[in-house]
Subunit: 433 residues, 2 copies
Amino acid sequence: MGFEVLLEKIAANKEVIGIMGLGYVGLPLAVAFAGKGVHVLGFEKSEKKVENLINGKNYIADVSGEDLASVIGSGTFTATTDFSRICECDAILICVPTPLDKFKKPDMSYIKSACEEIAKYMKKGTFIALESTTYPTTTENFMLPIIESKAGMKHGKDFWLAYSPERVDPGNKTYKTENTPKVFGAMTEEGKQIGLAIYQKAIQYVYPVSSPRIAEMVKILENTYRLINISMINELALLCGKMDIDIWEVIEAAKTKPYGFHAFYPGPGIGGHCIPLDPFYLEYIAKNYQFDLTMIHTAGHIDMLMPHRMTIKITSALNKHSKSLNGAKVMFLGVAYKPDINDERESPALKIIDEVVKKGAVVFYHDPFIPSVTTESGLELKSSDYRLISEMDVVVVTTKHSSFSGDDIVENSKLVVDLTNITNKKASNIYKL
Amino acid sequence: MGFEVLLEKIAANKEVIGIMGLGYVGLPLAVAFAGKGVHVLGFEKSEKKVENLINGKNYIADVSGEDLASVIGSGTFTATTDFSRICECDAILICVPTPLDKFKKPDMSYIKSACEEIAKYMKKGTFIALESTTYPTTTENFMLPIIESKAGMKHGKDFWLAYSPERVDPGNKTYKTENTPKVFGAMTEEGKQIGLAIYQKAIQYVYPVSSPRIAEMVKILENTYRLINISMINELALLCGKMDIDIWEVIEAAKTKPYGFHAFYPGPGIGGHCIPLDPFYLEYIAKNYQFDLTMIHTAGHIDMLMPHRMTIKITSALNKHSKSLNGAKVMFLGVAYKPDINDERESPALKIIDEVVKKGAVVFYHDPFIPSVTTESGLELKSSDYRLISEMDVVVVTTKHSSFSGDDIVENSKLVVDLTNITNKKASNIYKL
């Protein structure tokens, strides 16, 4: 199928969009397209997820269960584990994970596997866009050769490749898939026209850039900005602790500057699936250009040590009350990586838990969003009753869920280590970051 | 004079405010107070400045000559080199320089000297506030002991000490002294009440914090934020150059993210009297707390190397045209540290000039705001005619003054090294940062 034929098909709303990976990026995207009447076929390796979806059952907090049931019911959206059905699709949007391995190196296996599946089954005239965060040049230098060689097809003639980063911010009540501007970079003018025609159906504002590598870099810049600023304020918070300066009061005052300042807040570390990962994709590829990214490296170092430093803070607080960490009962309030979400990926709380357990603490946690967790070291814990805080030697506030009350925590705890400023006051039994 | 007496005097508008240091901070502040009918006595060591002021002559770009002439004419504001007149003042606001020495160590001599002059001459019941940027704890641990011991007076009884950072942004057309919110931290409740009563006469919004060290830290946080973000984007720009990615296009696209991103732009380095200095005050005092500020250190390292890296960029551009830097005619456009101001302090352009001259280049510059400059190495240059660009081997754009035209520069130059994206396009004779 040629370029004009595909454009006409899109204009007539007869195209089928395949979405690979139905997680927190792919599923909202699938529902957004299907909600506009576009036929969407979701590909997912997990049989359980596919079964849920076919039965109209939602598993992503940012997706409305009603919207999902509606597009499943109407048949506009369906999901499958059968990747051979890629041949039915006119466009494939890839939303697979791009994790780091244990040594902080990019794990490209999901993208590679997606490219191989696509190359195996796609028909001629397919548009392909990657949405997963990855290092610049991935689309052009990593994906293109795999697809061309495995499919025996030629880019620009038989298929079109592009990159458009997801900008999902879990829990954001204002900006969802549809109304978050979307950056989009294709390899050719034809690819650009096709991609725009497709994305503009579901996304209110699509911003084209001149190449995939520009779009790849955009996403990394956004999250590198966050990484270095959070790391900077965390480092300053640690210094402020030593200088008897309340960093939280400093930040509130700095915010009165009406230009040129953007407040970031300290915390027990950096969590989630973006900020602790994305910049290190760039650091990785930079080496290939004989280039050290010193800011990212330094930020990563601060971040890596935060859980340990928080353990020291807990130990110091207990020590002032003549208690050792060894044998102490410690309750963590909040294990989600940010407030009011049910996601504990890369959460610093879990890393602190692992370290204090290793040092002999008896650990409990309470999180209204997360009933059970498994830490990196394999420790399995269930969320305890909040009221147990009064029986603890120390209560550590690691996530500022809006249902938590600083006053109540302080009133009912012997000792509070507040890493979130939820207490927002001074008292002899409060130790703040 | 006791606390209540001073407050009453302020309420009756009968107080005299002394301002020490009549530079780009002190003079606008003096004119702001005097403009509200408050009697201001300015102290300045430079006889030439005092003579100018007494004759109603302005020398600071952000001060309106009319406003100055008016307050001098009415006698509300006068200036003197006679520091014994400190005894006439009810309040002293210190606006002296706080430079770094050649080894990037804080030079506290101006603050020390100001404290000594004040201690020598002040009457009992004087309010003293420091406005100069400095490391946290300066007011409490550095100034207080000097004043108490030299004056033989007791803080809280005989005088009150506070800190309130200047937030002057030279060239800012919207935010001036009067309408920029002012953070203010006193050592005692009485000092707070006096300081608020005074500052609120000239400043629309005064934001009190609980101590001088909080206020000291606020100013450093604001400029550290800028330092690390500019350094980060400069480092990414260098990498992007190697990866064939236009960093400027990346930034414009990242700006479409409607939350959580603040754009900073790369350039030839960091200049001015705040960003290259303030964070290093904090780095200095941190050592005293056995603390390394790794983010500031890394940013400082990037910044330190930028002029050298820009020299390499110029060399590479010339090399592609088979020219060596040695013997090349090089014109720098803009030596001010930011657009549309007449200030070249810490300007990276001057550092690049020094380096390329050392390597044998024949250097010219043109800057409509700065008729002549002296570089760090002592080289004296006068601004050349802009039209000389056509005779140069390379034209380096170092400041994006709004009177410069990217198109005109490209049209009339053999080769352009554009460190500001003023050209905003690709061409065979343009090398961008």
